[in-house]
Assembly symmetry: none
Homo-oligomer: 297 residues x 2
């Protein structure tokens, strides 16, 4: 393998000190245009790339994120997860990070695995996928005091810094919550069938309604596009239904739609929280997607 090209090589070619090269690269100092050009051409001519090991050592960060994924439970390989994996890889790259996969042989292994990765400073943080209720990984990682994001929700009392809510589970939970409050006629403003995310969330609605054995009036499942306007228009139609068919709760796919719904509710003379409940939804760290009758963000 070819010899490493280091800052010093660049420096001697450009006729400056190697520390100066480092600073030029990261724009940390003012240099005369002439020097900057000299350094930049030297970098280009030599094909210099900062050495990751050196950077990691110095900055005490690996620029690596550990990704924990469940090894495909037998018959149920999920394209969503594959998609998710691809997304995080792309996104991490945008910030100069990479994704590191690691094994997780047995349940008892969990502690050792994560401890090892963290103490060896091999990763800067973790992404967990398929987090379920009472996920054993969550307490372990929390004890290690390291940044973590999870895809899926764990309800075991740890205020995990940020949580990505799974659409299906999230909407289902929202609906369950409404059911628990006594709602029986629950409508949903869905997205066109082409939307995968929309389908996922709609499935959550069906899940929860079926679970509660509640009938679904075809009118309650609205499909459409847009944000505030869509919410406003669709909600008006729902509120125009005869009282017996009129929903007492409206579930939306995203907060901006919920805002439109709330506007419509008010302009029709109803009161949010008393006459009708509205829920929103967001992909960002939202633990609270339902506030009885009121979605505030």
């Amino acid at each position: 393998m070819a010899k490493n090209i280091t800052l010093k090589d660049v420096a001697s070619r450009a006729g400056v000190s190697y520390q100066t090269v480092s600073k030029v690269i990261r724009n940390q100092i003012q240099v005369t245009p002439e020097v900057r050009v000299r350094v930049e051409t030297a970098i280009r001519e030599l094909g210099y790339r900062p050495n990751a090991a050196g950077q990691n050592l110095r900055t005490q960060s690996s620029h690596l994120i550990g990704y924990s994924w469940q090894p495909a439970p037998q018959n149920h390989s999920s394209p969503i997860l594959e998609q998710f994996q691809h997304s995080i890889v792309e996104c991490a790259e945008d910030y100069g990070y990479h994704i590191l996969l690691f094994p997780q042989r047995s349940a008892r292994d969990i502690h050792a695995t994560y401890e090892e990765l963290v103490h060896a400073r091999r990763v800067d943080g973790f992404i967990l996928s398929s987090v379920d209720y009472n996920d054993p990984r969550v307490p372990v990682i929390n004890r290690l005091n390291v940044p973590v994001v999870s895809f899926g929700r764990s309800d075991d009392g740890f205020a995990t810094p940020s949580v990505d809510v799974d659409g299906r589970v999230g909407i289902a939970d929202a609906v369950r919550h409404l059911v628990a409050q006594g709602h029986e006629r629950i409508a949903i403003l869905a997205w066109p069938e082409s939307s995968r995310v929309g389908a996922e969330r709609l499935a959550g609605y069906w899940d929860a309604m079926a679970e509660a054995e509640l009938p679904i009036d075809p009118k309650w499942v609205v499909r459409g596009k847009g944000e505030i306007d869509y919410g406003y228009d669709a909600a008006q139609k729902l509120l125009d239904l005869p009282e017996k068919r009129r929903p007492t709760a409206i579930v939306t796919m995203i907060d901006s739609i919920a805002i439109g719904v709330m506007q419509a509710v008010e302009s029709c003379g109803f009161e949010i929280g008393r006459d009708i409940a509205v829920t929103g939804f967001d992909d960002l760290p939202v633990a609270h997607y339902v506030k009885p009758g009121l979605t505030t963000l």
Copy 2:
């Protein structure tokens, strides 16, 4: 985050020099049992873990392997690949390595991506999956002169070590199985000639047919692209053949195509298993949910 525990911390607690600790850890020198015990207990008590960045810098190796996988075309996720990914992660771990995922946005990006990873010494080598004929990644990596193995073979003159699913034997077995059941008119839905995997599997078909000394009607070897749709359309044409030329069994390259075939069979009024046999490949999870048990490999 807690302060790093380094060799020096361990050393001062054990009353030796830090370099000695390093050597004890890797059994590179003889030490008196007494010293060894002192060092080992110090390590345990402090919870010392070698810092990966330091090791990487010193040893000039990242202990990371880059894994290039195709981001799941459309909705078709392959359980094989998922399995494969899991296996390499486990296996790498056994040798103290980890797997690094990296993005590959566009074809033109390929060179930059790999060059970056190699020059920055971020990875020690690569594993490529889904390698096919004329895979653009192969020449790029070979030029970088870095270790690489691939899953699937590319026949373009580079001696890249590889593993692969033996499609030839697999399909041949399937055909033999059908022959043993008394089938004589066996059709195959192949892929375009540009697909190496497809060529392999088709070769298995020829092998087995020749072995059984069965004639092959040119109409029985269909070439096409796609999944369910392809299976559906191609099967319909096969079923439209006059009875004497109509195949009694259809071999497909992948389960999703088989599903299309089965739909076509049903819609033409035939019964799977009685009038016609269908085989798949690669054990898609869906296969278990399809009504008439699909014979797959």
